[in-house]
């Protein structure tokens, strides 16, 4: 069964070129194409990452899918409903989390927010009490359940936001940058619970993020959008093989920074007191590279990072665009 079916959707925003009196006398407008004729299809139970750089059109797409924005063109069906025309009926079946906008009651304990949400979604009292208890356990909220929301850390709050969006047991959960601003511990905890919800309850997850970790750990499918167009739609495993094979190894040497270093055929680039190795894991695995590095030099500190998402998108946009692989 299709959870989401969008066909040739576009969103064009119009802006006045001139403001004030000039704008009134010369009412010229400029069109900004936020989403340009995209089609996408998501099966029930899938977990999909919808990623792209700032201004790519991902939040606009989520807002069209949830019925907040009206598409300029195209048709959308979410759980068989037209989001804008049947917004409230659809709202009963979906959950939404906007990473930068809280849906919790700021000055009250979490329980009040949960009870309010349960009431809004008409969850019967006995059922909602059970559901809240389960979510509190699943999301590890019991330590701070009676604290006012304003006193929670960002990580605690985000876990609570996701739990709050799941109280009515939605069929789809839309997550718009849920891990934004979180530290690594909080990110991991949140990813675990989202993954768990998808796996155990079959909730379809539709997630936007700038964080490669979110995509790798949560989503089995990744769609990349840029300039309002889907530039890639692939299984995440495949994407990892194809595009996340380059790891950045940043090393702070114990002694002076050497000018030229080459480890196992990988040349280092000196940068801000560090040596940066771009390791192509298809050619040499990290488990082989790292020991060779330690053999060759004394290391004071080391970090290993994925290639930045912006770089991947840039690479995809410049190289992979002709090989776009749409599922539908």
């Amino acid at each position: 069964m299709k959870a989401i079916q969008a066909t040739n959707i576009s969103k064009v925003f119009q802006f006045k070129i001139h403001k004030g009196l000039k704008g009134f006398l010369q009412p010229q407008t400029k069109d900004i194409v936020a989403v340009d004729n995209i089609s996408l299809s998501v099966e029930a139970g899938e977990s999909v990452a919808f990623i792209g750089p700032n201004g790519a059109g991902k939040s606009t797409t989520i807002k069209m899918l949830t019925g907040i924005l009206q598409p300029t063109n195209g048709e959308i069906l979410v759980l068989g409903k037209r989001p804008l025309q049947e917004r409230r009926e659809l709202a009963m079946q979906i959950g939404t989390v906007f990473g930068q906008r809280s849906q919790l009651v700021f000055n009250l304990p979490l329980t009040d927010s949960f009870e309010l949400t349960a009431s809004m979604y008409q969850v019967p009292k006995i059922e909602s009490a059970k559901r809240i208890k389960t979510l509190v356990q699943q999301f590890g909220l019991d330590e701070f359940i009676s604290q006012p929301v304003r006193k929670l850390s960002l990580g605690q709050r985000m876990r609570a936001e996701v739990a709050n969006a799941l109280i009515h047991n939605p069929k789809i959960i839309f997550l718009d940058e849920p891990t934004i601003g979180l530290d690594i511990v909080a990110k991991r905890a949140l990813r675990e619970v989202i993954k768990d919800v998808n796996r155990t309850q079959g909730t379809t997850v539709f997630l936007t993020s700038h964080d490669v970790g979110d995509i790798e750990e949560i989503c089995n499918r990744t769609m990349i959008i840029n300039h309002g167009t889907v530039v890639l739609d692939a299984q995440t495993d495949q994407l990892k093989k194809d595009y996340l094979k380059t790891k950045t190894v940043a090393v702070v040497p114990a002694g002076d920074l050497p000018r030229q270093v080459e480890v196992a055929g990988v040349k280092a680039k000196p940068e801000a007191g560090r040596l940066i190795f771009a390791v192509d894991t298809a050619r040499i695995e990290l488990k082989t590279f790292i020991p060779k590095l330690f053999e060759q030099m004394e290391v004071a500190d080391i970090t290993i990072e994925d290639m930045p998402l912006e770089d991947i998108i840039h690479e995809l946009y410049t190289k992979a665009a002709p090989e776009v692989d749409y599922d539908d």
Partner: protein, 264 residues
């Protein structure tokens, strides 16, 4: 669904109940304001005798306006709507299975409900202390029932009007200037500053059959002359409340087509 809106009211009231200082300050300001108005009117009444409206009745009329209309704070729905539109928070409301506009009204009722209820006791007490009891010889059960209906209609009209002004932020980005102008006009012609009965006859007639008449109507309980105009006032209040509601709905339909929120 009524349960859900009621829960919004309760949660909002619960959130605000923690702020006891705001409650005390709010009620105190209302009482002080009435005291000042009573003093100013006292001076005016000593110089000019308004036989049609006794002094105590004039002050009770204004007091009721503050107690019933202003303390419920429905005009503040503008501030919430304007803020949510300008910050993009409106999108959080739109993904809920409730009507966003009604939710905002319920939030305000919850937020101001306690102050409103305390004011319902404190303001009449203050009025009694300042000016004594008003002349109630013209008040019958029909007048009281009509007054209750007029108050409900005034609340509906106020919510619709200030919601509509808030919605104009979708075009203006910030509708504070429209709000300030409307608020002052409503206060002046709604009897918040000057009792309607003290205005010239022509102005009174215009107000009675204009949207301002809907707001002014609850202040007329203590105006003996209002009895004669009661049916016309009621009809006018019903018509204007419905028109303002329909207009708000019309603007909302336009808004839904042009919603643009931050991000993307």
């Amino acid at each position: 669904m009524i349960n859900a809106y009621w829960q919004v009211v309760k949660t909002s009231a619960h959130e605000d109940a923690a702020n006891a200082k705001r409650l005390i300050a709010g009620v105190s300001v209302s009482v002080i304001r009435i005291g000042l108005i009573a003093a100013i009117y006292g001076v005016a009444y000593r110089k000019l005798n308004h036989a049609s409206l006794p002094y105590a009745n004039a002050i009770w009329g204004i007091g009721i306006y503050f107690g019933l209309i202003l303390n419920l704070g429905l005009r503040n729905v503008f501030k919430i709507v304007n803020h949510e539109v300008s910050t993009g928070m409106v999108e959080v409301g739109l993904i809920k299975p409730l009507d966003w506009r009604l939710t905002k009204v319920c939030q305000l009722i919850g937020k101001n409900g306690l102050e409103f209820l305390v004011g319902l006791v404190a303001i009449p007490c203050a009025l009694y202390m300042f000016v004594g009891l008003p002349d109630t010889s013209h008040i019958s059960i029909v007048v009281v029932l009509s007054f209750i209906l007029l108050t409900i209609l005034a609340i509906v009209a106020a919510a619709s009007l200030f919601l509509t002004i808030g919605l104009s932020a979708f075009w203006l980005n910030d509708a504070k200037s429209v709000y300030r102008l409307t608020d002052k006009v409503v206060l002046i012609f709604g009897g918040g500053f000057v009792p309607i009965a003290l205005l010239p006859g022509v102005v009174q007639s215009i107000i009675r059959y204009s949207p301002f008449g809907v707001y002014a109507a609850p202040t007329q309980l203590f105006n003996p002359a209002m009895v004669a105009n009661l049916p016309a006032t009621l009809i006018s209040a019903v018509v204007w409340s419905v028109l303002l509601l329909v207009f708000c709905q019309f603007i909302w339909a336009r808004v839904e087509k042009r919603i643009e929120v931050n991000g993307g």
